[in-house]
C-alpha cells in the first residue's frame, strides 16, 4: 500500500545518479598504474564494498542488530568454491547461486525477527548462528576440506581465465557498481522507505499497514544476496577459502566498515570499505594490532562522529547528504 506510506522522499539531484557511473569511470584506468599488491588490495576493497552495502541494509536501514553477516559472507564464499571445485562449474556461473545461498541464509536469519525477537535477542541469536556456521565449515570436511581450507582454481569468465588480479578488478568493479545501483534503487523505492519506517517506529509502520514481516524477510534476503555475491568474489580473489577467514575478527571488520563509513549510507559503505580494507593491511603481521585499531576506530566514531566518515563529506557536499536517516 504505497499510498499509506509517509510522503515519498524526492529523488536525488540529477548529479547523484551520475556518481554511480562517474566514480567507476574514474577508477577504470587505475590498474595500469599500480603494482600487483596494490591491485590485490583494490580488489579486496571491491569485495568489502559489497559486504558493507549488504550489511548496511540490515543494520543501517532496517535498524536491526543482526550479527550474521560473516556467516552470509562465508556461505557465499563456500557456495562458490564448492560449485567450482566439486561440481566443476565455471566461476562466473557461481556468482548468482552464491548470492542465492546468501539470500536464503539471510531469510533464515530473519526468522527469529518474525517471532518478534529483536534487539539483543536477535544479536545473540545471529551471533550463535555465525559461530555455528564456522563450526560446520570445519566439520563438513567432504565438502569444505575442513580447517585446511578449500583451494579454488582461478576464476573463468565466459571461457576466459581471469588469472591476473587486473582482469578480476574489472569484473569485480562491474559487480560492485551493479550491487550499489540496485541497492540504491531498492532503498529509494517503497520497499526501502518501508525498511526505514520499520527502523524508526515498527509499531507505527505496522499500524499504517506496512506488512513488516515481509519487509523483514526482504531486507535480510537482499542483504544476504549482496553479501553472498561478495563472498563469491572473495573466493575468486584469494583462491583459498578457510573457516578462519570467517572468524570474529572478520565480524568486527564488517561492523567497522558500516559504522566508520556511515550508518544507512551507501556512500558510507563504500568509504568504509576503502578505509577499513587498507587500514588492517598496514598492520598485517602484528597479531592483535588489527583488532585494537578496529576497536579504537569504532569507539572513536561512536563518541565523536556517530554518523561516520561520510558525515564529514556531507557537511560540505549536499550530494552525500543522506535523505533517509534523521536523528
Amino acid at each position: 500500500m504505497p499510498g499509506a506510506l509517509p510522503a515519498p522522499v524526492v529523488g536525488r539531484p540529477a548529479l547523484g545518479r551520475w556518481v554511480f557511473l562517474l566514480v567507476p569511470l574514474l577508477v577504470l584506468p587505475v590498474p595500469f598504474f599500480v603494482n600487483r599488491y596494490i591491485q590485490y588490495v583494490l580488489n579486496l576493497i571491491l569485495v568489502y564494498v559489497l559486504v558493507g552495502v549488504g550489511f548496511n541494509i540490515v543494520i543501517g536501514n532496517l535498524g536491526q542488530l543482526a550479527f550474521a553477516n560473516v556467516a552470509l559472507f562465508g556461505l557465499g564464499a563456500y557456495a562458490s568454491g564448492i560449485l567450482v571445485v566439486h561440481a566443476g562449474w565455471p566461476w562466473w556461473t557461481t556468482v548468482i547461486p552464491a548470492g542465492l545461498v546468501g539470500a536464503l541464509a539471510g531469510a533464515l536469519a530473519s526468522l527469529p525477527a518474525l517471532r518478534r525477537i529483536r534487539l539483543f535477542y536477535l544479536a545473540i541469536m545471529t551471533m550463535a548462528f555465525g559461530e555455528l556456521m564456522r563450526w560446520i565449515y570445519i566439520r563438513a570436511e567432504p565438502l569444505t576440506n575442513g580447517s585446511m581450507g578449500l583451494a579454488v582454481p582461478p576464476p573463468v569468465l565466459l571461457g576466459v581465465r581471469l588469472s591476473s588480479d587486473r582482469s578480476k578488478f574489472y569484473v569485480f568493479l562491474a559487480l560492485a557498481v551493479l550491487a550499489v545501483v540496485l541497492t540504491s534503487s531498492l532503498l529509494r523505492s517503497r520497499f526501502g522507505r518501508a525498511f526505514m519506517a520499520i527502523r524508526d517506529n515498527e509499531l507505527a509502520a505496522a499500524a499504517v499497514g506496512i506488512p513488516t514481516d515481509r519487509y523483514f524477510i526482504l531486507a535480510f534476503a537482499w542483504s544476504g544476496f549482496v553479501v553472498g555475491v561478495g563472498g563469491a568474489m572473495y573466493t575468486a580473489l584469494v583462491g583459498h577459502v578457510t573457516p578462519e577467514a570467517f572468524n570474529l575478527l572478520e565480524l568486527i571488520l564488517h561492523f567497522a566498515v558500516v559504522m566508520v563509513g556511515g550508518l544507512a549510507s551507501l556512500a558510507g559503505s563504500v568509504i568504509g570499505a576503502v578505509v577499513l580494507t587498507t587500514t588492517p593491511e598496514l598492520f598485517r603481521g602484528f597479531p592483535g594490532v588489527q583488532e585494537l585499531v578496529l576497536a579504537l576506530l569504532i569507539v572513536g566514531v561512536l563518541l565523536f562522529l556517530p554518523r561516520g566518515l561520510v558525515s564529514l563529506l556531507s557537511l560540505r557536499l549536499p550530494l552525500f547528504r543522506e535523505r533517509y536517516y534523521r536523528e
Partner: protein, 289 residues
C-alpha cells in the same frame, strides 16, 4: 555414568552461572547487554596470570588484585565510554560494548601473541569417590567459591538496604531516579561489580583451563546461552540456566555426539529463542507489534 556426568556438568555449570549472573546484573541495572563481557573474563584471567607467574604473588592475593583492577576497568568503561552514549540508539551501545571487548582481546594478543598459556597448578590435587562418582578438588573449590558468592549476593539483594535500592533501579530506572536515587552511581558501581565478577570467573578458570586471547568468546556464548535458557534478565534464571547448560553439554556429549560439547550453547540459544523466547523461568520478552 549419568551421576558422574551430572556432577561434572554442575561443576562446569557454576562457572557459566557466574558469568551469566554478572552479565544479568549489569543488564538489569543499566539495560546494556555487554557483548564484551567474555573479554572481561579473559582480562581477569590474564591479569591473574601476570600477577602469579611474572610477579610471583600468591594466587589468592593475585586473584583479589585482579578483581580490584577489573572493578576499576569496569567503572572506567562506564565513565569514559558507555555513559556518554547511554541516551543514544541501542545499536551504538551494543557496538561500544563489542568494540571494548575486541580492544581487550587485541591488547591481550599484542602482549602474548598467539600462544596458549598454561597456568601452574594451584589447587590441591585431590579426588574423592562418592559411590561411583569422582569429585575433584577443582570441582569443590570452584563450586564452593561461586555458590558462597551467590549466597552473599542473595543476602545483599534481599536483606540489606543497598540491595533494595538496587532492586528499585532494576525495576525502573526512571522511577528510581524520581524518588531520588542516584541512578548514575548505581550504574557506575554495577559496571565495576559486573567486571569484578567477570574477573572472578577468569581467576577461577585460569588454573583449570588454558588461557588464550579468544577465550572470551567461548565464555560469552555460554553466558548468553545460560541467560537465554533461564530467562533473559532474571537473576535466578541465569544461575539455573548456567547449571542446566553445564549438565546438558556433558550429557548430550556423552549420549548423542561429542560434538554437543562444542555446539550445545549455540543450539540452546537458537532453539530457546525460537521456541520459547521467555526461557524456562523468564517473563515475557517479545516485542508486541
Amino acid at each position: 555414568m549419568l551421576p558422574q556426568l551430572v556432577v561434572s556438568g554442575l561443576a562446569q555449570g557454576v562457572l557459566y552461572a557466574l558469568v551469566a549472573l554478572s552479565m544479568t546484573m549489569v543488564y538489569r541495572a543499566t539495560t546494556v547487554v555487554n557483548f564484551g563481557h567474555g573479554d572481561l573474563v579473559m582480562g581477569g584471567a590474564f591479569v591473574v596470570y601476570v600477577l602469579v607467574v611474572y610477579a610471583h604473588l600468591p594466587y589468592l592475593l593475585g586473584g583479589l588484585l585482579a578483581l580490584t583492577i577489573l572493578f576499576a576497568l569496569g567503572v572506567g568503561i562506564h565513565q569514559g565510554l558507555m555513559r556518554r552514549i547511554m541516551t543514544g540508539p541501542h545499536l551504538a551501545i551494543a557496538m561500544m560494548a563489542l568494540a571494548v571487548g575486541y580492544g581487550l582481546r587485541g591488547g591481550a594478543r599484542v602482549l602474548w601473541g598467539r600462544e596458549v598459556l598454561p597456568f601452574p597448578r594451584i589447587f590441591p590435587d585431590h579426588a574423592w569417590m562418592l559411590g561411583d562418582v569422582v569429585v575433584t578438588s577443582d570441582n569443590l573449590i570452584v563450586s564452593g567459591t561461586v555458590l558462597g558468592l551467590m549466597a552473599v549476593l542473595f543476602v545483599l539483594f534481599n536483606v540489606t538496604r543497598t540491595g533494595r535500592l538496587l532492586q528499585a533501579v532494576f525495576q525502573s530506572q526512571r522511577g528510581a531516579a524520581l524518588v531520588g536515587l542516584n541512578v548514575d552511581a548505581v550504574h557506575r558501581v554495577m559496571w565495576g561489580v559486573g567486571a569484578a565478577l567477570a574477573a572472578l570467573g577468569g581467576v577461577l578458570l585460569a588454573p583449570i583451563t588454558l588461557l588464550y586471547p579468544d577465550m572470551g568468546v567461548w565464555v560469552l556464548v555460554r553466558g548468553f546461552a545460560a541467560m537465554t535458557l533461564g530467562g533473559f534478565g532474571t537473576l535466578h534464571g541465569a544461575v539455573l540456566g548456567g547449571l542446566i547448560l553445564g549438565v546438558v553439554e556433558l550429557v548430550l556429549g556423552a549420549y548423542v555426539s561429542t560434538a554437543f560439547i562444542d555446539i550445545s550453547a549455540y543450539v540452546v540459544v537458537i532453539a530457546v529463542l525460537l521456541l520459547r523466547p521467555d526461557g524456562l523461568f523468564g517473563q515475557q520478552v517479545v516485542v508486541r507489534v
